[in-house]
Point group: D2
Chain length 397, copies 4
């Protein structure tokens, strides 16, 4: 038992009995609740040997029927309709905050103050100020913290980062990313759900989708120097679930030109009005020695062009199937060519966090910390500001 | 409690307590053992509500250290180094046979005779005769039986079958399939493992990979009338794991022309000597109203060309992302565009089998029965015969 | 013989003798000279029956050896080292200006003043002012004028425009375009050629590549309301062909956020520092009823996603092979699937211009006029201005 | 002037006046007549300097109106409705036989006997016997002869051959090729045209499409040892152009397993009943050090996977844009990324033949000779024989 972490270290574990456990309290049972719960359940035998065994202590949500079913479905020991009550449970050592954006700050901060580690979905806060408060709270509490930018845990993306760290790409000239979806287009008849309400969500496509590509920009390219952006809302009023019409006060899409501290320039863009683009998080990096391109809809693949490759006459973009045993996390999975799904990014992510918790490791640079969540929010805010002032905004993290 | 099935029916279940359980005994802990175990563990919460809860009763394998670790890893209640002992356990209601090919017949037959349901990996038997004996045994015993042709449970492939059943493809003209891998090419330095030993495996690429595409030919096109095939072994001697060299007496590859009862013609081919093809199970059907193409390395996608589509000027192959909630099994998964992995074909497959077991449903036509496994073996044998006689062989199932 | 056009109309032509001829004077013998000459030579028999037969009267260029060889190679009747002298030749009825950018304005204006029609390569002028002067001159002279934005004459792109004109795309939400090349990256060792000299070229990637996508933005989406852009020069000094080093005073790349009058937003970007992107003019339009995507490196193809397409379960991006007899210009070419090359965009373009000349038709909206060339230059200038002022710039054409 | 060739050699030519000319007589004015004529007209300035200038002396065809228009359109000096009369013209030094298959043998043989060089479209003869007679005649006459297998002159395919010749692929394991089209499917309502009449065409998809892939098999892999094939005719009666119904006595499709002398095995297949496959000549070679894949619908591209490539973690199929100046024939074309069309394969092919004619070079191995045409016919006949006897047929060239 480590004095510092409060967990039995796995190093030197002779049997499974020595594998530490981490008690998890889950906030939210919808999309992210399901995805994270799946990860907690598969980590013990797929990310084997696991750094820790997650113990599903409790799940919290407002709708009692739904949260009770979620508890039964995923095997949480208890359920709560009041997240504060859940935090009171000393068995909960890690708060996994998968609630709506307006429930990111308060529970996360309180959990940290109670000495619990925190994993929080993105965007961290609805504004940079909110995100900063969260970061300061977890730092002050000395707990482990992670913003759930799970795409850092796609094997192909981690591979890109590794290539960059090894110096194989050289100077980066461009980063262009667009994250496109379609699910609030007119033919879907989407009402004004919480994601379209500024008071709950903070922003629209920007905070939901744009946050992912901004985080990847930080992770892969580095600090952003300035942004000039536009935002728009194509459908300004939508039916309220409770009847009547409500004003949509978040963006349906944004587009921005971006400049990095290292001199690279590029574009960032996200939209929920891109017909046929179901989950098209696509980015390309043009660098001195290579170009790389990624598309989340084909997340097991990576496109790479190497400058100067031999033989010269067959230079071209490689379509890399990132499924070899030597690729990131693939020692846990299947023989090559047997592709994995989007859901396993969470197994990689949470397994990393558990390792940091029980072995007192740094979450960064590969895991996104609350600081990373804050830095992402700074850029989001700057894009909104730029769209208002019609000026490029210098980034001050 | 159904008199006939011995299980509580789920229909009318008021609570999870009513969901029946099925006790599973797993034979084998390697690749297929891992894949099937993963399915058993995810079905209860991902294929929700599950038709039955699999109870992991026991796992059997020859190497005690390995099987003990597998039991611990996946949570099997017991482990056995003798599969016969495992079958003695009355808690085992379903034998999941993921052992090497020479262990398919005997345990499966014995299990059936003991009244246990059987799921057996492909190829069912090393020969058609062996497969037939297995089929007859399970039929005689009256148990549920399934040959683990899991690619029938890829959503895109089930979608093709559904389109065919709806008459949307019309008359089928061609089926061409190739299943290509690379892992025993010279640069891998593969020794003579069991898969390269005829006495254990029965055949090489033919039974391992070819069996999959032959089963899909049956599932999607129908009865085969005749085949003319070639087989070859590129590396005729390989290092034995116990030292010295051993003769490789199975095929490294086969190629065949095939004729169907419905008049379609085409080709079947598999190889373990196709550089860069990691798991390339690719097939194309050319039919009266459409062409469809599938590639397992992109299993969430389907390519379809529709004859006569409007508007005319944009006719072309569709790249369908088979991830919509209305696509087969997708109500269990994620929002569209968040792709799933190869491993979940087993969740679909085994969930189907559990449903058949507890609700006394037919495994076919969508699940492959032992009869399907036998029919596949007949075609495999005919290809081998044709390669020897240099004549086309008429298929007599 | 038409009084107005000075050419025999083809309408009612009974024999080839009735097909009018247009005397061509070509300025420039390098890349564009070659491409245009090829078009003049193939139009008579490939765009059959041709609206007019181009008569290759003269070619002008500074290097006598080179221009003499070009004349011999392509069959121009005469060559000139002084373009003014060429314009004096009354047999030259159409000036085809394929010279460097600093030779666009003066010869084009003089030719127009002499009553000659003018086809001028892009960018029309080095600045919007220069382009406006050119436009005013040709309008005043009453001659036909065309800016050689040849990508409007790619069958797939014309098809997009036709679909838009038919209302099939509905409201346009986004336009994102990037035109990427790689040929001045460090590994090419490119010296400071004229395209890298502001006094000759006006701008770099912006005017060379960006002009194409800005023109397509105008052609396909409509007027631009505002732009916010960044430009950069990665290699600030290069070897001069005459020895020593010279400052590169044009952009190597630009990136911009763009807003259209119709409410669409998007991004525009071009670079000569994108490894592996040989000629990647790629754009995507997300609209109410469809998304379309085009890539010049696969110019015979078009990707289209239709909202609401039946059957629902096979919705997906179509990969349209734009090679059917009913596709734009394809009645001139081959059976479907036998793809055509980039060079034939010029046959389509120039054939259109010849038709306008001899039959006194409007060059627009499908051909780009000098007005279109000017409008493009306005946007280029605005991007440069924005990059300097760090503010979004409202477009005033 | 060479005594042997009767042409002025280009080597040492000081001016264009020294470039020899070759008088061409064209038989046929339809699809192939158009494609070849285009090549004759572009060679002089695109394949620069040309080995010889083709002089378009005459064109022959049965329909006087059509052949007269063709002569005018392409600039042939004369036209003939009797090909024998054309051959009498001493100005015709090269017979380009683009007539229907039943007009391949007699005119080609007669032309050779008159001392004229012969370029003949594929398939060379309707049977191997007919093809052999043609080969013997041209050999006896000592003229240059070429079978128009133009796909050998696709840059990507020549690149594959070059890689093979350099030993870069190593031992070849597999060749699988399918050439698929769709233009006689039910929805086209195609009548019984000459291509569907055995007495004229010899065979159907086999001789038309299959001949191309068999020739490529010979060119890229080597001698074929045996084939086992199936043929079929889906629509057995079609409307005659002159009224009434006629029996279709050629194959609509074939499928074959193939064995090569070097030990490779694979499949060959062609069909005119593959919906959406417009001109899909697709083949893949799996070899010891690489896999290569080609698709004629994207003829400027080549897919290559290299075994053992560094860095290991980005191994994958390269999508090579075969448009670099160092790629075969590309010094004649455009800057990279500006793709060329299908039609230019003929410019490459015929330019090669002209070079062989005027400089007395060998047409092979890169050009297909009549011997190659014969060898191809042997394999076609063997596939037909196999389909009848239901036995594999050993190839005896």
């Amino acid at each position: 038992m480590s004095e510092e972490t409060g967990f039995t270290s796995m190093a030197g574990a002779k049997s499974e009995d020595d594998v530490p456990e981490v008690g998890v309290g889950m906030l939210g049972y919808a999309f992210m609740g399901k995805a994270h719960s799946h990860a907690y359940k598969t980590i013990p035998y797929m990310m084997y040997p696991p750094p820790a065994i997650p113990r599903l202590e409790a799940i919290a949500g407002r709708n009692e029927t739904a949260v009770a079913e979620a508890a039964r479905r995923y095997g949480y020991a208890q359920y709560f309709t009041d997240w504060r009550a859940m935090l009171e449970d000393p068995a909960v050592q890690l708060l996994d905050n998968g609630g709506p954006n307006n429930l990111h700050a308060e529970p996360s901060i309180l959990a940290a103050q109670m000495g619990k580690h925190v994993l929080c979905e993105k965007p961290l806060g609805r504004t940079a100020d909110e995100a900063r408060a969260m970061w300061e709270a977890v730092e002050k509490a000395g707990v482990k913290h992670m913003a759930a930018f799970n795409y850092r845990f796609v094997p192909a993306i981690r591979l890109i980062r590794d290539l960059i760290d090894q110096g194989k790409l050289g100077r980066i000239y461009h980063f262009r990313a667009s994250y496109l979806q379609e699910w609030i287009m007119p033919h879907y008849g989407t009402p004004k759900i919480w994601r379209l309400d500024k008071s709950v969500a903070g922003s629209g496509a920007l905070g939901d989708l744009g946050a992912h590509i901004i985080d990847l920009a930080h992770y892969l390219v580095g600090d952003i120097k300035a942004v000039g952006g536009l935002t728009t809302t194509f459908i300004k009023e939508r039916a309220m679930e409770e009847g009547g019409m409500g004003v949509v006060d978040v963006d349906d899409a944004f587009a921005a030109a971006v400049e990095f501290e290292n001199g690279a320039i590029g574009t960032l863009e996200s939209s929920r009005f891109a017909a046929g683009r179901k989950n098209a998080n696509v980015f390309e990096i043009n660098a001195e020695h290579a170009t790389v391109r990624f598309n989340l809809e084909r997340l097991n693949e990576l496109q790479v062009f190497w400058v100067g490759e031999e033989p010269t006459e067959t230079q071209g973009f490689h379509d890399v199937l990132v499924t070899e045993s030597y690729h990131p996390w693939w020692e846990n999975w299947w023989p090559h060519g047997h592709i994995i799904g989007w859901e396993h990014t969470f197994a990689h992510e949470i397994s990393h966090l558990l390792d940091c918790i029980v072995n007192d490791k740094e979450v960064g640079p590969h895991g996104a910390t609350f600081e990373d969540g804050y830095r992402c929010a700074v850029v989001c805010d700057a894009i909104v500001e730029s769209a208002g002032t019609r000026k490029f905004v210098d980034i001050r993290y």
